[in-house]
Symmetry: C2
Subunit: 357 residues, 2 copies
């Protein structure tokens, strides 16, 4: 992705924010407990989170729902989202629900059968839980194996039409009926805390997933439950700017990648550096158009003071990609993935696994 393409994306996001009533999160900065997510611009926008905070101030908890379609190993993008969810759980002391949508992966043909989905569900669950979720307030479930997903999806399906689902997702009649029904299933995951406990759901998502939120909100309104709120996460790029995707290994760093693979992918990542070290020392780098700088924000910097300091040192030519930032990043990720693998092995999934009450 070029700088122009990025500008276009951010223009799209601005248009989308206006059109769909998504607000900058900065406006709520003072109402959050102290945290780095807003300070570093990791969480950038919200819809209705002000209402959540109003209720929270009155002692009303909310629930966070954040899922994963289990069809392969987790990559850094997933780790990142779940790290944000875990951080939000700590900040607000709230329940987290983690749907593992084997059903989604099956109907979209990403796994050959539900057994394969279950294999990846357990694998992924271990890594997600290794991030340190509170066992008393975290429920993880395999979507096709619960008592309630299908039943809630049926009730939701009644409030949708084929034409609405088809136009929302840009699909046609060549797809299978599981794909359109999955729209209702995903909404069931989102609305479940509202159905079961009468508490509001908050979903941390990327802007590109907002269509699911809008459908969920329409359905919530028709079913007479509060509309779920959302928090929008800054775009997290892969090594070559395109989003990380499990189906294109070169775009992603996986938690299962060995150290040399992580090193190689990071050294080859697009950065804001100059063609040569000499030039970079003289003219400085460009942190505004640098994958590594983005990653440092997500993984290394503690606050905006630190991120500004790095940016200045980059622009001044003091930092050099291959000697500094890429090395910091690579060593950090090698350590992080190694530790996660160790913790993942020891996770007792049964403590978190849930089929419905």
């Amino acid at each position: 992705m070029s700088a122009e393409a990025l500008l276009k994306v951010s223009a799209d996001i601005e248009r989308m924010m206006r059109e769909f009533n998504i607000r900058p999160l900065d406006e709520l900065k003072d109402r959050f407990p102290p945290n780095e997510l807003l300070d570093l611009g990791i969480l950038v926008a919200h819809r209705d989170f002000d209402k959540i905070l109003d209720e929270y101030a009155n002692g009303q908890k909310f629930a966070i729902v954040s899922g994963r379609g289990p069809s392969g190993p987790l990559h850094l993008g997933h780790i990142l989202i779940f790290s944000i969810v875990k951080r939000l759980q700590d900040l607000f002391d709230v329940e987290v629900y983690i749907p593992l949508s084997d059903d989604e992966k099956l109907v979209f043909g990403k796994i050959k059968d539900l057994n394969e989905g279950e294999h990846w569900a357990f694998d992924n669950a271990r890594y997600i839980l290794a991030l340190g979720f509170n066992p008393k307030k975290t429920k993880i479930y395999i979507s096709s194996k619960t008592k309630w997903v299908y039943r809630y999806a049926l009730k939701i399906a009644r409030k949708l039409t084929l034409s609405a689902v088809k136009s929302a997702f840009g699909i046609d009649d060549s797809i299978n009926p599981g794909v359109v029904f999955y729209a209702a299933v995903q909404i069931a995951h989102i609305l479940q805390p509202e159905f079961d406990k009468g508490i509001r759901t908050v979903v941390p998502i990327g802007f590109d997933q907002d269509v699911y939120m809008r459908l969920s909100r329409d359905v919530a309104e028709r079913l007479g439950v509060p509309k779920p709120a959302s928090l929008y996460v800054r775009f997290f790029p892969g090594p070559r700017w395109e989003p990380m995707s499990s189906s294109a290994p070169e775009t992603s760093i996986f938690v299962t990648d060995p150290p040399e693979e992580i090193w190689r992918k990071i050294m080859r990542a697009f950065s804001g550096g100059r063609p040569s070290v000499e030039e970079q020392r003289v003219y400085g780098g460009n942190p505004e158009n640098c994958v590594i700088y983005e990653w440092l924000k997500f993984f290394i910097f503690k606050n905006s003071r630190e991120s500004k300091k790095f940016a200045e040192e980059c622009r001044s030519g003091f930092l050099v990609c291959g000697f500094d930032c890429k090395v910091i990043m690579a060593l950090h990720l090698i350590k992080l993935t190694e530790e996660l693998r160790k913790k993942a092995e020891k996770i007792d999934i049964e403590k978190y696994l849930w089929y419905g009450d």
Copy 2:
């Protein structure tokens, strides 16, 4: 329905039999244990039941699947189908699976929620089981509450397309996604014995439901399991020839109808009688175009000798609708429904209720 309309229906059936390879059941008469179902023309046609009988002769059992969408009390049409199923269970000593499709009724908007579906599921189950199914070989289940329906439906959905489902059922994009997904759910009910036990399914149905069988067979082939077979039940008319329908009470006699209601509906039913008793005595009635004669076949006659004798006595003017046939039928149905209600009260559903193995 007039006699001409009936002729058209039977022409449609003949065309359908040719086009979709449905064969007259008479050709298998000698391979059935002695029974009245073929003799009286209650079961009239089949697809692949010859293969079932071949396997059966080699010691391979089959399973019968016959369901009901629980959205109101059962009417005689339902009692009739399940009586046939029970009779087939006795004749062949085979397992019977009875899906109660609350999911179907919900997505088609026939019930307001799944609780209402469950209420009717239990009600209907009692009456069905009161017909005397073998508790060791009969499993009844509420579709949305099993462990497996949703999972099997997902795997089936992958083998269908929206366009195939839409054209099979003549639906458009204004319907909800639950309706198209239900095509996969119904196929899951039918194929479950093949998936779970590797035994063939036989479904007793009306000709008008054959589209589900054809879809099920396509899917079975794509999933590499044997294609389910079907047995076609003669059309069972309501008091005014149109099919009995729960949503139009005057078309149906319900198991819950009090005696005076049954009496009234039967006395008002279309029969092959003459405008006056005198004319009927002189010119005779017409059993070929008589709802009551159809019902006698399904409920009263023991064999074709008896049905022929009644037809002759009708044509000769010896029998008169309001003095003879209607009275016989009304008294029989009043007794049958009364006995069923008593037995239904005593049924221990838990002995039959099943959620999956």
